[in-house]
Symmetry: C2
């Protein structure tokens, strides 16, 4: 079991390993009332990836804490804004203590639950994006884990200014990997292209759900390297940003160049149909 902290009460232990080393992981879940979009997938990912980091976490304990967090927070987002929903964030750290980087024996994890309003939805007609100057480095052992080591995304997000919605990050080879808070999906004549999980900083819940849905419809989805030329060249029939909270967001202009954009894909993902 873990120590449970409410973000609105403050008071995380100053020696928590999340604050010391980014030693943990998190989930952000789109909520409407007391139900969450693809909630089970979020909780299952946290349990699985905590296991990859050797942080003990039982699914049943996480479920119980999640239920308590929903009971605590959901009532705060009612009234006129209720249709827009809210965001539940769960952060799991390895806990407090140890000898430097080495965790102590029998260390108990901490779970921090916080809530915030759902951000305004991006326009269905598409958004503006640019390329980030911050390269993305992904440790193969931690690929896809939504860990608390997010300094690269923080520094890249500082480049999101004016009318930009997102910046896209490439690895040190120049392959396009993902946005600061979004996975990428490219429409081409033959089907869809998205970088494979093994190169991703964060393997998003919406990305995985959408790939399964597209394949179930008989569409071809290729998980392979994505180049800037793929996206900026004639091959591109549409570039989509995927984020569990904001949904499927078409890119209308990238680095000053217009892209073909429609919100056809957005109709596949209706968050209100996926509440649990």
């Amino acid at each position: 079991m873990f120590g449970l902290y409410w973000a609105d009460e403050g008071g995380l232990p100053a020696g928590d390993r999340g604050a010391a080393y980014g030693d943990g992981l998190f989930e952000t879940i789109r909520m409407h009332g007391d139900r969450g979009v693809l909630l089970s997938r979020h909780l299952e990912r946290m349990v699985r990836d905590a296991g990859r980091l050797s942080i003990p976490l039982a699914n049943a304990d996480l479920r119980k804490a999640c239920t308590a967090a929903i009971a605590r927070y959901s009532g705060r987002f009612t009234g006129q804004e209720s249709d827009r929903g809210w965001v539940l964030k769960l952060t799991l750290t390895r806990g407090e203590g140890g000898r430097g980087y080495q965790p102590g024996p029998g260390i108990r994890p901490n779970l921090i639950a916080s809530a915030s309003p759902l951000p305004a939805p991006p326009p269905g007609s598409g958004v503006f994006a640019d390329f980030s100057r911050v390269p993305l480095t992904v440790n193969p052992l931690f690929a896809g884990i939504k860990s608390l080591n997010r300094l690269e995304q923080v520094m890249a997000a500082r480049e999101i200014e004016d009318d930009l919605f997102e910046v896209l990050m490439s690895d040190t080879n120049g392959d396009l990997i993902e946005g600061t808070r979004t996975n990428l999906l490219l429409k081409v004549r033959e089907g869809w292209i998205t970088p494979p999980v093994k190169v991703l900083a964060v393997a998003g819940i919406l990305r995985q759900w959408l790939l399964e849905r597209l394949r179930a419809r008989g569409e071809s989805v290729m998980e392979c390297a994505l180049s800037i030329e793929d996206v900026m060249g004639e091959r591109c029939q549409g570039l989509y940003l995927l984020n569990s909270v904001m949904g499927v967001v078409p890119v209308r202009r990238l680095a000053g160049q217009d892209l073909p954009a429609d919100d056809g894909l957005a109709t596949i993902f209706n968050p209100l149909e996926l509440l649990e």
Copy 2:
């Protein structure tokens, strides 16, 4: 200026970006009484690297907080153990708030000061080390910064078991880079070899001081790639681990193979002569 937190009082804001994203950096300083080893270099590194992360930090403010921390903590490490000294840890985070990865405008950093006893000194005759199975990935933009994104070091440190003192990490090309908490210095016939700052996760204070000292003595120091063959082969005349708190530590056995080891280098670095 920043918000100042004492680790022994607990109560870091649960929304602090250090805990959320590892959005910050830290220093660990070897102290004896109210004086610190190479103290100015530690504080200057924090100011410089905070600048690289666009976290505002004035040298004078940091000095003042450091002086207050020393006044608070130094008296707790007195008596019989006083010769062994203590460790002052300063953690600077970007502060609280923002929209996800994007820091809010005018955000105020937090500084957390904590103290712990000096760990027992490693034997002068040398220590045992092994190679880590965790690859090290270093973002070129953040090379050398002692940031709070330390999940790789945490996972590697879990491999330090039994009589091991340290595990050595390689990058994804197989080049040897550094230990979980130590920089590497190899003695060869022609002089000394150490990996260059641009590939390091952490560019240590002791490493930099020692390179300057060796060069001042007219010795040849090469900052270039280090291979496992360099260290395990006949070229090796001694491998040293460098850490500001623990000093210069010779490796006596690496991955089960005996290495030539003496503590001659340790006599160059006498922490008690470098107190400020």
